[in-house]
Subunit: 193 residues, 2 copies
Amino acid sequence: MPGGRPRSFNPDTALDRALELFWQQGYEGTSLAELTAAMGINKPSLYAVYGNKEQLFAKALDRYFAGPGAFAAEALDEPTIRAVVERLVFGSIELTTGADTPHGCLTVKGVHACGPDAGPVRDDAVRRRKAGEAALRRRFENAPDLPRGTNAATLAQLVHTLTDGIAVQAAAGRGGGELRAVAELALRGLLDD
Amino acid sequence: MPGGRPRSFNPDTALDRALELFWQQGYEGTSLAELTAAMGINKPSLYAVYGNKEQLFAKALDRYFAGPGAFAAEALDEPTIRAVVERLVFGSIELTTGADTPHGCLTVKGVHACGPDAGPVRDDAVRRRKAGEAALRRRFENAPDLPRGTNAATLAQLVHTLTDGIAVQAAAGRGGGELRAVAELALRGLLDD
DNA sequence: CAAGTTTTATACCGATCGGTATTCAACTGG
DNA sequence: CCAGTTGAATACCGATCGGTATAAAACTTG
């Protein structure tokens, strides 16, 4: 079976351009025209390779978690609860305030794509958030260094809430320096007692 | 000078319908057709009374802060820092998880309206957030019960970050019961030492 | 009832939305 | 060189976007 015309772009690097744009402008705020322009391809190629706008966003989310967001999964391997939490919180600050990347968090922006046509995108973002939080809760459950009287699920939800707040603050323009001071204050009483 | 045809709707109650819709679907996710349908008016009336979509959103924000979000300004009058913070945090949970109102926070959603045409809306939301946080910082500065070693600006930013996180959690479907437990855990170490 | 004024309702505007049909270019195997 | 296959480029689709021109309806004043 013969080969046909070779593809003139790299699907992964083009996906990176789409990720940047979605990360910056959100799902609803990004049009197909902007996407194809940034990716350097035209619409039929986009649809042939990625499906449609919804599926392109889902693939961008995959790449987000495999690349810039990988620290969230890696954090679970830290030896202590304190180290897990610190890596998650300070990693979120780095992720959302990076000089070379858009400010804010792609999944938080995905949750806030709440127009009538964005239902599946929002649901997908919510599903991934739940999966990540469940993994964090399991990491805390039965951990030998979980303080007595602290509920693993509640602690996981608090860490998730903190990283969400950091993402909003970053999206609203707050820099990493201030956010690190905020995080230190938040974790001081939480992990020091 | 004569009177002309009387207006057939109440601008304030119609604005409340617009507020509900923006609160639920965000700025970019809500179309003029949906707005006019929910408000029970047609487009020329909307433009005559409110200006345009951007200005309608700004007026909805005004009404948001005057109504459901009024607790944020009132909280500053609480006698102690602890009471101020608790009213802000638990008030945010009520606001964003109410049974009769959309889940999430209108200003957080406004910050995440980041498409090319939503620049002014986003900037307006950011400006209002900064003003609110500045008022909170001033409330903390020189407060007699501010713990030594705690920076007023950082504490204000942390409270703001917590309420932002709560808004994201609520928008993603978390209920008020769990969020109250999260808030208690967050404030335990922060205000008890 | 007539003149003047303001709001309402409908129809319409160009532009853009996400998505696709069609045509042409570039390659492989015979 | 030719047949077959695959991707690229353009043009196009109906629908909807935010916004407006136009004209009819409902009121106040004389």
